[in-house]
């Protein structure tokens, strides 16, 4: 087991109240796996990632739970241990990484400095050579390493940050929306690179994205979050074909496909995301769920296995409530 998260709770404690961004999140990621983390804007994806690196922006705080990485609990590690561990064990490509580079230092200096700091055996020339190699891998002219970040376009900065995250050969890579500024050609190239890293070097990958076609192309497993909680998780092939949770059903049914394209009816999920300062009681999805019953308001469903390796958090999935219109599969969302 590479990463194991148990009952993670992360709140942003503000004067107006606590923003309960991550609530009782539990999941495991096997070594060498490629896992997609998906869900609506603001549902807590980046917060999970920040918690894993213990880099939560203030006023974010881990309010409970454990984050085991190869057996050690990151949630309770002391600050020195964390510093050693970040980047060499777990590295991250930040969302909005475009402005994470220091604008007044040459890109090559920033990347090689990170390499040299974490690997004392490397010479400066080797570090430069490695940076050039990585630039080629992400589809950039290696001579550009000598430029300043402000001279890069949006997509170039994003790729420079991917290089930065790979610089120290991490075992575990978190990529938070790594391809938002990239066109399809470069995106395909980056996804191929990430897949190769996980297949050949055994790097574990956690990919955060709003783009389900990217998850379909790159990941083996997927975790679907809604309003700070996991609603469904399992193998990509299984979940894309047979989602159980009504939110997951709506999400998957909103992907168009060629077979259905002639007179496509695409599902949409009516309503707005909930206010995380005052989330709905019970199941957080109930105000937008067409199957919601009294029980869904009273009792929060737990994440339970519905078939081997496939879990869903819904009273319908566990059989606590019944509805003749509901069954596993995305078609339900189109009814």
């Amino acid at each position: 087991m590479s990463l194991k998260i148990e009952d993670l709770k992360v709140y942003y404690c503000m004067r107006r109240g606590d923003c309960r961004a991550v609530e009782d999140v539990t999941f495991e990621i096997e070594k060498g796996d490629a896992v997609g983390l998906v869900g609506e804007s603001g549902c807590g994806k980046s917060t999970v990632a920040f918690a894993i690196l213990r880099m939560l922006p203030s006023p974010g705080e881990i309010m409970g739970g454990h984050i085991y990485f190869e057996g050690e609990d990151i949630a309770t590690m002391d600050d020195d241990a964390i510093r050693e561990f970040r980047w060499t064990q777990i590295a991250m490509v930040f969302q909005g990484a475009m402005n994470a580079l220091n604008p007044i230092l040459r890109v090559s200096d920033q990347i090689t400095e990170a390499m040299l700091k974490h690997n004392r055996e490397l010479s400066k020339d080797e570090a430069i050579e490695k940076t050039r190699e990585l630039f080629k891998l992400v589809g950039m002219d290696p001579d550009r390493i000598n430029h300043y970040p402000f001279e890069f376009s949006g997509g170039m900065k994003q790729r420079a940050m991917i290089v930065m995250a790979l610089a120290c050969d991490p075992k575990f890579l978190i990529a938070d929306e790594p391809t938002t500024a990239l066109d399809v050609t470069v995106q395909a190239q980056i996804m191929q690179l990430l897949r190769r890293l996980s297949d050949e070097l055994g790097i574990t990958l956690m990919l955060i994205t709003h783009d389900l076609s990217v998850v379909a192309e790159t990941c083996r497993n997927v975790i679907i979050m809604y309003a700070g909680k996991i609603v469904e998780t399992g193998a990509v092939v299984e979940i894309f074909q047979k989602p159980w949770h009504p939110y997951a059903q709506g999400l998957i049914a909103s992907i168009p496909s060629i077979e259905r394209s002639r007179d496509q009816t695409l599902a949409s999920i009516p309503g707005s995301p909930p206010n995380l300062l005052d989330p709905p009681q019970g199941c957080r999805f109930h105000p937008r769920c067409k199957f919601a019953r009294d029980l869904c308001i009273k009792e929060d469903p737990v994440l339970l296995e519905v078939s081997p390796g496939h879990k869903a958090a819904c009273h319908l999935a566990t059989g606590k409530i019944k509805d003749s219109k509901w069954r596993p599969g995305k078609e339900v969302a189109l009814l």
């Binding site: 869900g39 609506e40 804007s41 990509v236 168009p256 949409s268």
Partner: protein
């Protein structure tokens, strides 16, 4: 759309060359070396028109957008806004004009002022342009703008600061700020790139509705051709600072003749994981805008390139009314199949 009307924004021979800082090149070449980010662009944007700029990373889309609203000074060429040459008007004059132009920048992480609360961020353009008639009016407009971009309930957001928001939420604040004043011209640079399917379609519809209601003209920068074909009227495909093909969406997306546009269209991925449509990915990378080759810039990657292409630069010529192409040997129109056209639309909508 252009029936008898004057363009609201137009540019001729627009160039932006940056001096190259990296020592390596300057030493190698001796003397000044330039990076040609934008190199001879002509565009006319009419009121209520949505003009897309597309092309691979680094082709000059953002730079063109900034030149068109006077945020960057061109190396050469002119930009006119409602008939005024941006180079010739005073700073004060530019400030008044700016009120009528808004931008949604590509990176919502660096473009929002970290010291302003969301209320101040969104109401600032109202105050600068003295639009609100009273405090209540200002507040009502801010709340409406936040609701329009799905930052609900708005009261929970007005007091927050940009760092207290997720990526997609920041992107929506940038949109709320741009639309709150009903400008005449908006440059939107990849405005929905971080938004998930459900919110994205709401925002695209919102941009479309206010465009019709307030006759707003847009430059819409995107690398996503499915979004372009869904909301655009016209499109220019750029490559290394130059326009390769431009015209109506119907011509350029549905009847592309430039090998580069055709390659971009064939590379659009299928959004369905269970379907394995073989998409064609254009091999190679755009060359460097620093040492551009003679002849057609795309020739080194073009599978149809001939000797002429490597020697002479093709002019941008009108091949049919409103359809411009820069290519010595344009291809047969790539008629994208009904399915693909439909798929592009469906993908954008979701």
């Amino acid at each position: 759309m252009s029936n008898g009307q004057e363009p609201i924004v137009s540019c001729r021979g627009l160039r932006k060359w940056f001096p190259v800082s990296a020592g390596f090149f300057s030493q190698l070449m001796g003397g000044e070396v330039w990076l040609k980010a934008v190199d001879g662009v002509d565009l006319d944007i009419y009121p209520e028109e949505l003009y897309c700029l597309a092309g691979e990373s680094g082709c000059g889309k953002t730079t063109t957008g900034k030149l068109l609203i006077g945020l960057l000074e061109p190396t050469d060429g002119i930009v006119e806004f409602e008939g005024h040459d941006l180079n010739e008007i005073s700073r004060g004059g530019l400030r008044t004009l700016r009120a009528r132009m808004q931008t949604i920048f590509q990176d919502p992480y660096s473009s929002l002022n970290p010291r302003l609360s969301l209320y101040d961020t969104v109401s600032e353009p109202l105050r600068l342009n003295k639009i609100a008639t009273s405090g209540e009016d200002e507040e009502a407009r801010v709340i409406r703008a936040l609701e329009a971009v799905q930052l609900v309930p708005p009261e929970e957001f007005t007091f927050r600061y940009p760092h207290e928001l997720s990526g997609g939420q920041r992107q929506r604040v940038a949109i709320a700020r741009a639309i709150v004043v009903n400008p005449a011209f908006i440059v939107a640079d990849e405005p929905v790139s971080m938004l998930d399917v459900s919110i994205r379609s709401e925002i695209l519809n919102l941009l479309e509705n206010i465009r019709r209601e307030f006759h707003i003209a847009y430059i819409y920068v995107t690398h996503d051709l499915s979004v372009a074909s869904y909301i655009g009227d016209k499109i220019a495909i750029m490559y290394l600072g130059k326009i390769m093909e431009k015209g109506t969406i119907k011509e350029v997306i549905h009847n592309a003749v430039h090998p580069y546009s055709q390659a971009l269209i064939s590379a659009v991925p299928s959004p369905d994981p269970t379907v394995d449509r073989k998409r064609k990915i254009l091999p190679g990378e755009p060359g460097s805008p620093i040492n551009t080759p003679p002849g057609c810039l795309f020739a080194p990657r073009c599978e149809y390139a001939q000797d002429k292409c490597r020697q002479d630069e093709p002019p941008l010529e009108e091949v049919s009314p409103g359809h411009w192409v820069s290519c010595w040997f344009p291809r047969e129109p790539l008629q994208i199949s009904y399915d693909l056209a439909h798929e592009l639309k469906a993908k954008a909508k979701t």
